[in-house]
Amino acid sequence: MAPISYHLILSGILFTIGVMGVLLRRNTIIIFMAIELMLNAVNLSFVALARHLGSMDGQLIVLFVMAVAAAEAAVGLAIILMVFRNKETINADELKLMRW
């Protein structure tokens, strides 16, 4: 039986890949995907621990995470559409409106 730490390490790796994606890529869509990846990494660790501790709560949390991820994806993509329509570009480093 693979020890629990393996699962957690795997989820850590996936999570880091997601973070790198967010930080490195210019295209907002890709950044979005990276975020989804991070969420999935977390789900993975939840399920692994649920299995390990034998309680269903972990899985329920994953359920809710999925719901939230869905909502977030919907709204995020809508925003990206709006941005694209106005700015003709969705590169993160060109969207600098928040400068002081």
Partner: protein, 163 residues
């Protein structure tokens, strides 16, 4: 879930995850993300989370990724070869990433020493029955809130995307 299956699943997962963030073309990234999602579903099955596994396929791989592909198609994005200009930011993030991996690995590996045998699973663990039973008793309120959340998200998406 013995070691062999673990590695059988882990390696492709990591590879495809890397492809998601490295591949210049967004379509390829999206497709590789779908693959990652499905492997994860498989992973869930092995971890006795059958219901979740299906959920994963339906919700994630099915709807969210489709949404992504739809938006990518809508914006017909071309390849986006170069990464963003700020070299300092890029190097900083790479270093950051490396340190993060190192920390996580170190953290989790250390915890393995206090290994405890996987708990004895109650009968029907991970099935719809157990899941729904818990969902509608202990987690009733979060369930309701999530439903409202999804409603708001839907309305928001519609308003935003409208002309």
């Amino acid at each position: 879930m013995d070691l062999l299956t673990f590695f059988m699943l882990a390696v492709p997962l990591v590879l495809f995850a890397a492809v998601v963030i490295l591949h210049p073309s967004p379509v390829y990234s999206a497709m590789s993300l779908v693959v990652v999602m499905s492997f994860l579903a498989l992973y869930f099955f092995f971890l006795d989370a059958h219901m979740l596994g299906w959920f994963q396929i339906i919700v994630y791989a099915g709807s969210i990724m489709v949404l992504f592909l739809f938006v990518i198609m809508l914006l017909n994005l071309q390849n986006d070869p170069q990464e963003h200009q700020q070299p300092s930011l890029r190097t900083a993030s790479r270093i950051g990433g490396a340190v993060l991996i190192a920390e996580l690995v170190f953290l989790f590996s250390r915890s393995s020493s206090s290994e405890k045998a996987a708990a004895e699973l109650p009968e029907g663990f991970g099935t719809v029955v157990a899941l729904s039973e818990k969902l509608f008793t202990d987690f009733l309120i979060p369930f309701e809130i999530t439903s409202i959340l999804l409603l708001i998200a839907a309305v928001g998406a519609v308003v935003l995307a409208k002309r």
